[in-house]
């Protein structure tokens, strides 16, 4: 009976959110799904976690700014998961004296939390889900949780490992399988079930906070730790320079940065020179900029680029399909009115340096 009431609560929560949805992003459209996830997390921990559902509804109604609204959704998810891994039922019992709720023998909360987190992180937008691979990945994640002892740390490992696995191409699934095997071996040879509650909570909460852009968390990790630049007017140039090609540009009034990216440079490693800016002989390297599409899900497995130091790319798409283009900001020489950008002569012929514009 009690479980039936929870099921009814989940259904009504989802219905409430579906009534409230009026924005068109995939994350907004997935609000009923998020409501069910919050209800499940409340079921696993405190029923007060259900408060997340009215918060979701209020945010959908009253927060017009997309970025802020999606962050509120993320905060609800993060809070729910953080509470669940801290006090949830079904986790391995804490050592004596550490408090916490007693485990329920019939329910295994840890894999459920991991699965909820992964569903939110990887199954939005639903239209892009490759069901076979994703189900396999969920199974691997659940196995990691069990092998590592159903602790908060186990959930975190399972979630993070699964998150960074693009599952495109199929062979990338080797990574979580390898982690599973290593974990199994380590446990076999006597590794204790690490709890690491606080670090695990922080990592999971961080990942969940940005679940509306989980693709970027997975494939361009430090992006959300970087300071976001305030919105500034951009003068677009959009010119691709072939190797050895140079071009001279007037610097727009008030511009402080050149925005540059690379084309077909995903295979290059940090420090590789792409070109040069004059005056000042400023080298433009991988690390300052990246391949324009390196963070796309299909491209990432063969990319070696790091996120640009001062990323200027545009956030595109949502959920696990979200990615950021590889544009980076290069500070302009002080007082320069005219600059010359030249693509490096040693670059392969199909590679180009893309001058996106000025900011």
């Amino acid at each position: 009976m009690e479980n039936l009431r929870w099921i009814a609560a989940a259904a009504l929560s989802a219905y409430a959110c579906s009534l409230a949805v009026h924005h068109t992003t995939p994350i907004d459209l997935a609000l009923p799904f998020l409501a069910i996830a919050v209800t499940l997390l409340a079921w696993l921990s405190y029923s007060e976690v259900l408060l997340g559902v009215p918060v979701l509804v209020v945010a959908e109604i009253a927060v017009p700014d997309e970025r802020l609204r999606l962050l509120v959704f993320g905060a609800v998810g993060a809070t729910g998961v953080a509470i669940a891994v801290n006090v949830g039922r079904g986790f391995s019992p804490p050592p004596p004296g550490e408090g916490g709720l007693k485990p329920r023998p019939t329910l295994d909360g840890a894999p459920i939390v991991a699965l909820i987190a992964l569903l939110l992180l990887r199954w939005i937008p639903l239209g892009h889900v490759r069901y076979g691979r994703e189900l396999l990945l969920l199974a691997i994640a659940a196995a990691i949780v069990f092998v590592l002892g159903r602790t908060p740390f186990a959930v975190t490992v399972a979630v993070v490992v699964s998150l960074v696995t693009t599952a495109v191409p199929l062979r990338t699934l080797a990574f979580p399988l390898a982690v599973l095997l290593i974990a199994a071996a380590a446990r076999t040879f006597g590794m204790p079930a690490l709890r690491l509650v606080w670090p695990s909570t922080v990592v999971l909460a961080f990942v969940m906070l940005f679940f509306p852009w989980s693709g970027i968390v997975a494939r361009a990790f430090p992006y959300f730790l970087q300071r976001a630049a305030p919105e500034k007017p951009r003068t677009l140039v959009r010119q691709a320079l072939a190797p050895r090609q140079g071009e001279t540009y007037w610097v727009p009034e008030g511009a402080t940065h050149l925005i540059v990216s690379g084309a077909n440079v995903a295979h290059l490693r940090r420090g590789a020179i792409l070109g040069r800016m004059e005056p000042g002989a400023v080298d433009i390297r991988i690390g300052d900029v990246a391949d324009w599409g390196y963070a796309r899900r299909e491209a990432w497995h063969k990319a070696h680029n790091p996120l640009p130091r001062d990323a200027a790319g545009e956030v595109r798409d949502y959920g696990y399909e979200a990615w950021i283009d590889g544009a980076g900001r290069i500070p302009l020489p002080r007082g320069a009115r005219l600059i010359r950008v030249t693509a490096d002569g040693a670059l392969p012929p199909h590679v180009s340096l893309q001058v996106e514009g000025f900011e």
Partner: protein
């Protein structure tokens, strides 16, 4: 200010939390700071004032949670007072983000006059624009203020509060004056906690109630502004404690202090005296009359004996329901926690004696408050006239703490955190024109251009939601935690769905109407606005656009010049008249509709579907 807040937020847990509870709090605290830092870096365009207030309130709420539910807490009335003192000290600069408002400058002018001139005559203060030092150079005598035989200009407000503020004002001006009120707030918190202990309330319940009482509206906002409500609450609690202990030397001076603050508290004092069964104490009731008579020449000041004559029963119903659930000034929206007092009232026989005495002593006051035109408190932060009663309600709630529905409590806590954030970030929004809308409804209406305000119960301008809003009181007695939360989410979603459809009535002054020219009627800051039929004055070429239903409607208006207007493509001419008129108009299809004045001028009140 930021550094002081950060420091205070670090100190608060050290005052009361201990051992593992403190450690766990520190973990949560560190995580919160970390995530706040991340978000701060990711949201560069976000309003910093709101962001900082939200973070501070979030941390305060976390602290309150640990305080209420922690296993290792060192708790006493003095520590409670210390916590309140720190929070009030931080809230005062936030409140002073905008100039003082409402009655505040008038109280302060009296303080200034007594300090400098040793009199209560404010004529020279008005002439010299003394209030300009508090950025209120626009302050002039209020309509109906007492005038002396030789042209003295007195304040309508009783001078006792102004006298209490003299030491603080002398030391530190405006800040010192507000600090005096905050000090009363701190004393009130200490006194209330002690009172709860005296009444046998358990520590867990007191710790649970404390944040809602001391760190939330209305107490937080009145303890950090210049109003007599918090000192009155302190005197009231002291009086009730004195009566409980049968110590006349304690309760009589306290009661005297209370009645000297505001003449209206005589009605409460009468109740306390009756509870104490001490006829001689009735003399206290005469003291404020004598003081006011001495100060202004009229013992009733701006009041009349006629105000004691009972009014139309409907007025009582409207005022009472308004105080409970009105969107702008009711407990439901402005301090929902206190509605749990319903649970205490339902358990009257087992309620603490102090609660019963406090409620009974206040009945006469409430009886005369609710039928008044400005039962909601006029131009003041919400719940002004009920602030003195909050300690009593808090005591009642603490007594039934175990019976308080946890689902509703969680929602009340979340809403309260939102109210505190909003009030600290935008203190000027604590004041609201009494148009029948509220801040939330106005914001949503102006954003969506549909009438959201009609879904917030209003007893100031009665609407359909008003009576339905009373159903929300059930939330405060139903104990099904999960179902209540889910039902609330569903209610919000359905309300949103309904709000996006055109309403039955369009009030032309409302926020959802896009005005192209014209002005509000009556003008902003009109005293007793509720006595007027509100509207929007439009002249030739002015227009108003709103979402309307298809069909025939009745337009309510008044025009002294006559007017020709166009509505949804049809032209209408209306004659001049001294009274409000109506005309049937047709709107051919549902959607945005424009009302445009072609000639003349018209004050349009509302458009009502037939």
């Amino acid at each position: 200010m930021i550094a002081a807040t950060v420091l205070a937020l670090l100190v608060l847990p050290l005052l009361v939390l201990r051992g593992r509870t403190l450690l766990r709090y520190c973990g949560v605290d560190a995580a919160t700071w970390l995530f706040a830092w991340i978000l701060w870096r990711r949201l560069p365009g976000f309003d910093p004032r709101l962001a900082f207030a939200a973070l501070a309130v979030l941390k305060l709420a976390t602290f309150a949670l640990f305080l209420a539910a922690g296993a290792q807490v060192r708790w006493s009335a003095n520590r409670a007072a210390l916590v309140a003192a720190i929070v009030y000290a931080l809230a005062i600069p936030a409140m002073l983000g905008r100039p003082i408002d409402g009655d505040e400058p008038f109280y302060l002018l009296v303080t200034d006059s007594v300090t400098r001139d040793f009199d209560l005559d404010l004529a020279n203060q008005y002439r010299a624009r003394v209030a300009a030092q508090w950025e209120r150079g626009d302050v002039v005598p209020q309509f109906g203020d007492p005038v002396g035989k030789r042209g003295e200009q007195y304040s309508r407000h009783e001078p006792f509060l102004s006298l209490l503020m003299i030491p603080g004002y002398t030391l530190a001006g405006l800040h010192g004056a507000i600090a005096t009120i905050a000090l009363f707030g701190v004393l009130l918190v200490r006194s209330t906690v002690r009172w709860m202990e005296d009444e046998g309330i358990g520590e867990t319940a007191i710790r649970g109630v404390f944040p809602f009482f001391a760190l939330a509206p209305p107490m937080l906002f009145y303890a950090t502004r210049i109003w007599p409500e918090v000192p009155a609450a302190f005197f009231f609690v002291e009086a009730l404690r004195g009566v409980r202990e049968q110590r006349a030397k304690r309760w009589m001076p306290a009661l005297l202090g209370m009645v000297l603050l505001k003449l209206r508290f005589v009605l409460v004092a009468a109740g306390v005296v009756a509870a104490a069964r001490k006829k001689r104490a009735l003399a206290i009731l005469a003291v404020p009359l004598l003081v006011v008579w001495f100060a202004t020449g009229d013992p009733l000041n701006v009041h009349t004996w006629r105000e004691l004559v009972p009014m139309n029963p409907m007025n009582y119903l409207v005022g009472l329901c308004g105080l409970l659930v009105d969107g702008m000034s009711g407990l439901l929206f402005q301090a929902p926690f206190y509605l749990f007092a319903i649970v205490a009232l339902l358990n009257w026989k087992t309620a603490p004696r102090g609660f019963r005495t406090g409620i009974l002593a206040s009945l006469l006051y409430v009886f005369y408050l609710i039928p008044r035109g400005e039962w909601f408190g006029g131009w003041a932060p919400p719940l002004r006239y009920l602030v003195f009663l909050m300690p009593v309600l808090a005591l009642g709630i603490a007594a039934v703490w175990e019976k308080v529905p946890r689902g509703t409590l969680a929602m009340a806590a979340a809403w309260t955190a939102g109210l505190v954030t909003h009030g600290l970030a935008y203190p000027w929004r604590l004041f609201h024109e009494f148009t029948g809308e509220n801040a939330a409804g106005e914001w949503l209406s102006s954003h969506y251009h549909t009438d959201f305000s009609r879904l917030f119960p209003s007893f100031i301008r009665l609407n359909d939601a008003a009576w339905w809003g009373l159903l929300a009181l059930l939330l405060f007695v139903i104990r099904a935690k999960r179902e209540v939360i889910v039902a609330s989410a569903l209610g919000l979603a359905v309300a949103f769905h309904v709000a996006r459809q055109p309403g039955r009535i369009v009030h032309f002054e409302d926020a959802h109407v896009t005005h192209d020219g014209g002005r509000l009627y009556p003008e902003p800051f009109t005293v007793m606005r509720t006595a007027y039929t509100g509207g929007w004055v439009l002249e030739a070429s002015h227009s108003a656009t709103f979402l309307a239903r298809q069909g025939t409607h009745t337009l309510h208006f008044i025009t002294g010049l006559g007017a020709t207007f166009e509505l949804a493509g049809n032209a209408y001419s209306v004659p001049a008249g001294e009274r409000y008129q109506t005309i049937a108009v047709r709107i051919p299809q549902t959607g945005p509709t424009t009302f445009r004045v072609l000639s003349g001028a018209i004050n349009v009140d509302r458009l009502e579907a037939r």
